[in-house]
């Protein structure tokens, strides 16, 4: 102990003006009071999170048994990333069934959104520049967990996106899908197509908590590949698992002039500005959703490789690079 401190301590003791043991007493008391307040507060906040998903279930609540998932609980962020990931909340969320569409004008908008989503070629023809439909990358009418379901996206907007360096409303986000994924024209804000898609998404999200990351959002991130993704290996994966539907040349399969299976590259596919051209997105989608009916059957390495193969082909240019 430094000399000056011992001197001061002794001096204080003898003058009795201020007994230094008070310092210890004050510190100890503070710690005791803090723990009395903090521990129950932490417990309560955990309990609050547990309660959220229960409230999020729709009135019918008939899905929990079908997915066979454990009851709602807090999930830690899946992967350590550069930024701290927000809490992911596991919800056995069941969007309302399409047979329970609301009636009236709002119901009509939802129905149009449902139609656009499943048959974009017909219902939003004016804004589509390729052969795809929304449902090609958002399986089960935009309802399937781990296939970028609309109900997990809707409550996460408005949000800042690095892609366009601004805060995007959900409507702006949808417009981006048309520009890049559909290689088309952006429907004007407030157009009946965007209103319909927003109505459909809103309706699917009924009862879902807002502003929290729901389990099943987007595509489940893969761990970094053990070997760098490889086009030659990917080609073999493609031929063995994908070509039967998507075609040996990746151009999908057409029936009566329409794509029954979507083209993965070339003029009728998504353009080079689409998120699916980022290999981690493509690999994550493929692993969780392809081949149809056989999710998670490819190894992660195979998913990385086949994604690399898919994105090694040419496709329509990124519209941001085209001077108007």
């Amino acid at each position: 102990m430094p000399n000056w401190f011992s001197k001061w301590f002794e001096n204080q003791k003898h003058t009795r003006a201020f007994h230094p043991s008070w310092i210890l007493l004050v510190v100890a008391t503070t710690i005791i009071i803090a723990s009395i307040v903090w521990i129950p507060a932490a417990l309560i906040s955990k309990a609050e999170y547990r309660r959220l998903p229960a409230a999020a279930l729709p009135a019918s609540g008939n899905s929990a048994s079908q997915t066979g998932e454990a009851p709602a609980s807090i999930e830690q962020p899946i992967l350590p990333t550069a930024r701290p990931a927000p809490k992911t909340i596991r919800v056995d969320f069941s969007p309302p069934d399409v047979d329970d569409l609301p009636s009236g004008e709002f119901g009509k908008a939802v129905r149009l959104g449902w139609n656009i989503f499943n048959d974009t070629q017909t219902y939003a023809r004016a804004y589509v520049g390729n052969g795809l439909n929304c449902v090609n990358c958002h399986l089960d009418e935009g309802r399937k967990a781990n296939s970028a379901p609309l109900w997990a996206a809707y409550g996460m907007f408005p949000a800042y996106r690095e892609k366009n360096s601004r805060v995007n409303s959900y409507e702006v986000r949808l417009a981006g899908c048309f520009r890049f994924n559909m290689n088309g024209k952006v429907p004007p804000p407030g157009s009946k197509e965007l209103i319909a898609l927003m109505s459909y998404s809103y309706w699917l999200s009924k009862g879902a908590p807002v502003g929290v990351e729901l389990e099943g959002r987007g595509y489940p991130k893969l761990t970094e590949p053990q070997q760098p993704p490889d086009v030659a290996r990917g080609k073999k994966v493609f031929e063995a698992n994908c070509a039967i539907c998507d075609g040996a040349d990746g151009q999908g399969t057409q029936v009566s002039g329409r794509y029954a299976f979507p083209p993965l590259w070339g003029k009728d596919s998504f353009n080079a500005g689409a998120d699916m051209t980022q290999i981690h997105n493509a690999a994550a989608f493929i692993r969780a959703n392809m081949p149809r009916g056989q999710p998670n059957t490819l190894t992660e390495q195979e998913a990385w490789d086949v994604a690399q193969y898919m994105n090694s082909h040419s496709r329509p240019v990124d519209p941001r690079l085209v001077k108007s």
């Binding site: 079908q66 399986l139 039967i244 029936v255 081949p291 009916g293």
Partner: protein, 203 residues
């Protein structure tokens, strides 16, 4: 080869299918004069199925990846040329057309319709029509038409995949799906596909 020669070929195929060639039984005895199948006996409709699909089935009966006491000996007796001929002939016949017998909207029919058009993704079951084409009319060359097939036939096939007595599906795609379907769902799906109703479509 001119159209005349093609026509002559077609006639030869038809003759083979209808009269039976050396060592074969006539296809028509079970599959009907127009390849329309026999609903009561569960013999499938062949008319309009993709040629590659029909050929593959004959090969599967012959190699044992598709078990069937009637078809196995017949397929083994056919030469490669004869298999090609009968497949060609049936592929050239007109496929199934929607009839007026569409089932009523019973709960069972709605269940079948739901599986056919939307699937059940909670069990990772895609819609039948997602791979078998719009209105289940098939996507050549690999995916056969389902609509208009006798329900007894469809039911037997789904159960054959479950049991492993039919294992000639590419990449095990049908096996994976069939294993997740219950008996009640198989009944509903099979009945719906025999007389599907497309009028309830949401527009």
């Amino acid at each position: 080869m001119g159209p005349g020669a093609a026509h002559a070929d077609r006639l030869a195929d038809a003759a083979h299918a209808q009269q039976g060639g050396p060592g074969t039984t006539a296809c028509v005895a079970c599959h009907g004069a127009c390849g329309e199948g026999q609903a009561a006996a569960g013999f499938p409709r062949l008319a309009g199925q993709p040629k590659a699909y029909l050929l593959k089935q004959l090969q599967a009966f012959s190699s044992g990846t598709r078990k069937n006491p009637q078809m196995e000996p017949i397929a083994r007796a056919l030469s490669a040329q004869q298999r090609g001929d009968v497949a060609d002939y049936h592929a050239s016949l007109p496929g199934w057309k929607a009839d007026a017998k569409a089932a009523a909207s019973s709960p069972q029919s709605l269940l079948g319709s739901s599986f056919a058009t939307r699937g059940n993704w909670n069990k990772e079951i895609p819609a039948c029509f997602a791979c078998h084409g719009p209105d289940g009319a098939g996507i050549p060359p690999h995916f056969p038409a389902l609509t208009g097939q006798p329900s007894a036939y469809t039911r037997a096939q789904l159960k054959a995949w479950q049991a492993g007595t039919r294992s000639n599906d590419p990449q095990g795609l049908m096996k994976a799906v069939a294993d997740r379907i219950t008996d009640a769902e198989i009944d509903a799906i099979s009945l719906y596909l025999e007389h599907p109703s497309f009028s309830g479509r949401r527009e």
